[in-house]
C-alpha cells in the first residue's frame, strides 16, 4: 500500500483533473439536457422530433463510442473544439485552454452523453407537475416560455433533483473513460501509468483510484439523501 503514500501527488493531481472534468461535463450536461427536455415537450413538432432523436441516439450508444467519435471523429471533421476555450474559464480550468484538444473532447463526449439522461430526468420531473398548473398558467395568458420558466420548471426541478443527482453520480464514474481517450493525468490514466510504466502493483493503485472517485460520489449521494428527506418533510 506504500504506493498510496509514495505517489500521493499523482493521486491528488489525478483527482483534481477528474474533478475539473466532472464539473465542466456536469454543467454542460445540465444545460444541454434542459434544452433538449424543453424541446421534447415543446408545442413545435420539428423541435420535438429533434429532441427525441437526440435522446434516442445518445441514450442508446455506449459511452465508449461517443468518446471515440469525439476524440477521433471531430478531428477528422477538422474541429479541435476550440469553441470551449472560453476566456476566464480557461484560467480556472487550465486544461481547457491548451493546444491538445483531448480534454475538451472528453468534456464534450461526457456532456452530450449525460445530457440525454439529464433530459429524461427533467422530463419525468415535468410530467410530475400536475397538468392543471400548466393549464392555469396558459389560462392567465403566459406564453410557452413564461409558462416553463415561472410555473412548470421550478416545480419540475424539485422532483427531478434526486434522479438528476443519480445521473451526475453515474457521470462521475463514467468519467474514468476519459483517461483512455487521450486525457493525461486524470485518475484512470494515472492508474494506468503507475501500474505499467512504473510497475506498481495493480490492486493498491486501484484502491487509490476508487478512493478518488468515492470522495466525489459519496458526498453527492449523502447530499441527495438529505435533499430527499427535507422534501419529504416539506411535502407533509
Amino acid at each position: 500500500m506504500s504506493v498510496l503514500v509514495d505517489h500521493f501527488d499523482v493521486f491528488a493531481g489525478g483527482f483534481w483533473l477528474t474533478f475539473q472534468l466532472c464539473i465542466l461535463a456536469a454543467t454542460g450536461a445540465l444545460l444541454v439536457g434542459t434544452l433538449v427536455a424543453v424541446m421534447r415537450i415543446s408545442p413545435v413538432p420539428p423541435l420535438r422530433w429533434i429532441g427525441t432523436a437526440y435522446v434516442t441516439v445518445f441514450r442508446n450508444s455506449p459511452l465508449t463510442i461517443v468518446m471515440f467519435f469525439a476524440a477521433f471523429g471531430l478531428p477528422a471533421l477538422g474541429s479541435n473544439a476550440d469553441f470551449l476555450r472560453i476566456p476566464g474559464l480557461t484560467s480556472i480550468f487550465s486544461r481547457l485552454g491548451i493546444d491538445l484538444p483531448y480534454f475538451r473532447f472528453a468534456v464534450i463526449a461526457l456532456a452530450l452523453y449525460t445530457a440525454a439522461f439529464v433530459c429524461e430526468a427533467i422530463r419525468s420531473g415535468i410530467n410530475a407537475v400536475p397538468p392543471g398548473q400548466a393549464e392555469a398558467a396558459r389560462a392567465i395568458g403566459l406564453t410557452f416560455g413564461q409558462n416553463l420558466r415561472y410555473v412548470v420548471l421550478p416545480q419540475a426541478w424539485k422532483s427531478a433533483v434526486v434522479p438528476l443527482g443519480s445521473v451526475i453520480i453515474a457521470m462521475i464514474k463514467n468519467s474514468a473513460l476519459a483517461g483512455f481517450f487521450g486525457v493525461i493525468g486524470d485518475l484512470s490514466n494515472s492508474a494506468q501509468n503507475l501500474t505499467s510504466a512504473l510497475g506498481e502493483p495493480i490492486i493498491p493503485v486501484f484502491i487509490g483510484v476508487s478512493i478518488g472517485f468515492l470522495v466525489m460520489t459519496v458526498p453527492l449521494g449523502i447530499l441527495l439523501d438529505r435533499i430527499e428527506r427535507r422534501r419529504a418533510v416539506a411535502a407533509r
Binding site: 478531428p75 486544461r95 491548451i98 491538445l100 480534454f103 493525461i184 494506468q192 501509468n193 510504466a197
Partner: protein, 296 residues
C-alpha cells in the same frame, strides 16, 4: 434388448479406446514430443516438456514483433523467438498456446502462472526485475521519434523543450514515461503529451495534426513509416537503449539460464537471423547482432 444395449456401449467404448491408442502412435515424429529431450528432474523445462504445452504471452498488436492476423495466429519476431524456445523444449509449434499480454499485464500473468514465458517487446528494467526475472536481452531497441514527412521543425527529443510541440505515445509504456523529461514541464505533461491505448490512435492523431510527433521504440515506428507511403519519417537518431528480454517467473534461475543458452546458440546457428528476416526484417533489413545476454 437390454443386453444388446450394454454390448453396443461396450463396443463403442472399445472402439474409442482403439482410436485413441492409434492416435498416440503417430505423434512422436521429429525431435518433439515428451521424452525426446531430457531435462533435470523438477525443473520448469522438464515440466513443460512432459506437459507438451507451453503458454507464451506476446503482443497481438505490434507489427513485426507480435501481430495477430486474420488467420488468428500471432506472427512476428517475438513469436518466432517463442517458437524457437518451445522447440528447444521439445514442444511442437502447434502445441504452443499464445495469450495476449498488453504492456500493463505482463508482470501479472507471470506471477499468476497464466503464461510460462512472456516475449512481448518487454524492456528489461530494475523495477520489473523486482517482480519477475528476465532472460536475454535478445534485441536492443531504442526510442525514436516519428513525424510528418513535411515537418522539419523536430530534430530530436530536445525539440520538445520549447513547449509548443505535442507528442503522442502509448499508455503505461516506457517510452511514454521517458519522453516526459524532455517536455517543457515534466511534472505536468498534460499540455504536450497524449497517451492512447494503441499506436494506431497516435498515428491518426499525427495525421490529423493534433500532435506533431509519435514516440516509441524504433522498430514499432519503422513499421508505421513503412506502411505510411511516405507520409511519415523518423526524426534524428534513437536516443535510448531498450533491451528486450524474455520474462520468466521470479526466481526460476534454471529456466532463465536455459533460455539464455538457447539465445546464444541461435545467434550463431542462423536461426536468429532467419527469425528476424522473416518478420521485423521487412521494416528494417539490417539483421541485428544478437546482444550479449545478461546473466545478472
Amino acid at each position: 434388448m437390454r443386453m444388446t444395449r450394454v454390448a453396443a456401449v461396450a463396443a463403442v467404448a472399445a472402439l474409442a479406446f482403439t482410436v485413441a491408442a492409434c492416435g498416440g502412435d503417430d505423434g512422436d515424429g521429429g525431435d518433439t514430443g515428451a521424452g525426446s529431450k531430457t531435462f533435470e528432474a523438477g525443473s520448469t523445462m522438464e515440466r513443460l516438456n512432459k506437459a507438451q504445452k507451453i503458454i507464451i504471452g506476446t503482443k497481438f498488436d505490434q507489427p513485426g514483433f507480435g501481430l495477430k492476423g486474420l488467420d488468428n495466429k500471432p506472427a512476428g519476431f517475438d513469436v518466432e523467438i517463442g517458437k524457437i524456445i518451445a522447440g528447444e523444449l521439445g514442444i511442437a509449434e502447434d502445441k504452443v498456446e499464445y495469450i495476449e499480454t498488453p504492456s500493463a499485464v505482463r508482470e501479472e500473468v507471470l506471477e499468476q502462472g497464466k503464461a510460462d514465458i512472456v516475449v512481448a517487446t518487454y524492456t528489461i528494467n530494475d523495477k520489473r526485475k523486482e517482480r519477475i526475472d528476465f532472460a536475454g536481452p535478445y534485441y536492443v531497441a531504442g526510442q525514436h521519434i516519428m513525424i510528418r514527412a513535411d515537418d522539419s521543425s523536430i530534430t530530436g527529443p530536445d525539440s520538445f523543450k520549447a513547449g509548443d510541440k505535442k507528442v503522442c505515445s502509448v499508455q503505461g509504456s516506457t517510452p511514454g514515461d521517458n519522453i516526459k523529461k524532455y517536455l517543457a514541464n515534466p511534472a505536468s505533461p498534460g499540455a504536450q503529451l497524449v497517451l492512447f491505448d494503441g499506436y494506431q490512435k497516435c498515428v491518426d492523431a499525427l495525421t490529423n495534426k493534433q500532435v506533431d510527433a509519435v514516440t516509441t521504440d524504433n522498430v514499432i515506428l519503422l513499421g508505421y513509416v513503412a506502411k505510411s507511403e511516405g507520409k511519415f519519417k523518423l526524426a534524428g537518431e534513437k536516443f535510448t537503449e531498450e533491451p528486450y528480454g524474455i520474462g520468466v517467473k521470479k526466481g526460476d534461475t534454471a529456466f532463465r539460464e536455459f533460455i539464455n543458452a538457447t539465445l546464444e546458440k541461435i545467434y550463431t546457428d542462423g536461426r536468429y537471423a532467419k527469425a528476424w528476416q522473416d518478420t521485423a526484417g521487412k521494416f528494417d533489413s539490417t539483421v541485428p547482432q544478437g546482444p550479449a545476454v545478461n546473466r545478472y
